[in-house]
Symmetry: C2
Subunit: 239 residues, 2 copies
């Protein structure tokens, strides 16, 4: 039960572990930060081999639900985390690679989610600390000596931060995963520094405009600027 992703095959051994863990999560017996029993223990508890247990844990790993670490002590073993965007983005990225999810659709979906988030953010109480943090990020990005990787990283943080202002964890996770899924696509689009510098300058300007609109609680303006921002970047780079 609790499985809607059957592939109409024989019951896989690892499903036992997955179902058990899912049930424990729902009931609250397991929580983020908890350590899972060791693989050898689980294999004994469920009466399956350690290999099958590892299948289940590997799945949870790529889903962004656990992290694993070797060694001993409290920081080792399999530990429950919560990184939905990681799991979603890797899935999306592979499907983009298979060319059944067009990059244009990814971009369009991102615009949809982010503009909604911008609008929704202005219907909620003002989150002063987050806005301050956003301004801080923009200030860091204004440094002309900043490397491209660092810029992308800050850029990512900025967009994620804005999307969290809407207070919808699903939208934030999906938006971030969309962004991650086409990140190296973007990285490869602009290759030289000569191409990059003017782009970065434009992005800085756009970012400030967006944040200003949000600070002024003008959701419609923020949404419009954000949409144009994303749209512009992709027509600019993916030509």
């Amino acid at each position: 039960m609790t499985d809607t992703t059957d592939r109409a095959a024989g019951p896989r051994a690892y499903q036992a572990v997955l179902s058990s863990i899912e049930a424990d999560l729902r009931s609250g017996r397991l929580n983020i930060g908890d350590r899972l029993p060791g693989e050898r223990t689980l294999s004994e508890q469920h009466g399956i081999s350690r290999a099958s247990v590892r299948d289940a844990i590997r799945i949870l790993d790529v889903m962004g639900l656990v992290r694993t670490a070797t060694g001993s002590g409290p920081n080792s073993g399999t530990i429950l985390i919560s990184d939905p965007a990681a799991g979603l983005s890797s899935t999306l990225r592979l499907h983009v690679a298979s060319r059944h999810l067009p990059v244009a659709d990814i971009v369009q979906a991102r615009i949809l989610l982010e503009t909604w988030a911008a609008t929704a953010a202005t219907t909620r109480p003002i989150d002063e600390p987050s806005l301050a943090r956003a301004a801080e990020l923009l200030a860091l990005m204004d440094d002309p000596a900043l490397g491209r990787e660092a810029f992308h990283d800050l850029d990512s943080q900025f967009h994620v931060l804005l999307s969290t202002l809407a207070g919808n964890a699903v939208v934030s996770a999906m938006m971030e995963s969309l962004r991650l899924s086409i990140m190296d696509y973007v990285r490869h689009a602009v290759t030289t520094d000569e191409q990059w510098q003017p782009v970065a300058q434009a992005l800085r300007h756009q970012h400030h405009g967006i944040l200003d609109a949000l600070t002024a609680r003008d959701g419609d303006l923020a949404a419009r600027l954000l949409g144009e921002h994303i749209e512009w970047f992709f027509t600019e780079t993916a030509r």
Copy 2:
């Protein structure tokens, strides 16, 4: 390195296979419907054990990128498919289970995506066959003798079909995955037939209204009805 999901751990053996397959997908050397080499062949090609190869294939499996089948012949082995919603939904479902993605956020995101799709659909050329198919689905759902499982199945098909009218594969995949991720949550909410019958009746009526609006190319109305439809269902069942 075509890998943005590193967990900052030692290089996993299965990454070799994943990267190779991802590269082959991007370059077009692999396409949907193709058969992957056997696990034993892959393990030899990449110089890793079959167990590690199986890790990679298992990951692709849960992502909805391949299906596996035992036996011999053209329909056996590991075959490339494209089912993004399956991979996304299983990830979402587990994260919902961990209670870090509230069901309310899922519903809100679904409303966002579906209402957008309804609006976007009316800005595109009329897809007569799909609308006819949608009407057909509603007609089937009108049968009062229909079982609940069958109703849910047709319901699902109806919503997915509508979302495809917008012509954005990513939005469709995400919308379907959101739906799947909370499907058994819904199934458990309404338990008895006495509870179910009036709900089904209301859903039928709402569906017809939505389709009528779409057929009349009134995107705003369709979006509004669709939003109310989803909202109503969840406030009705998840009380």
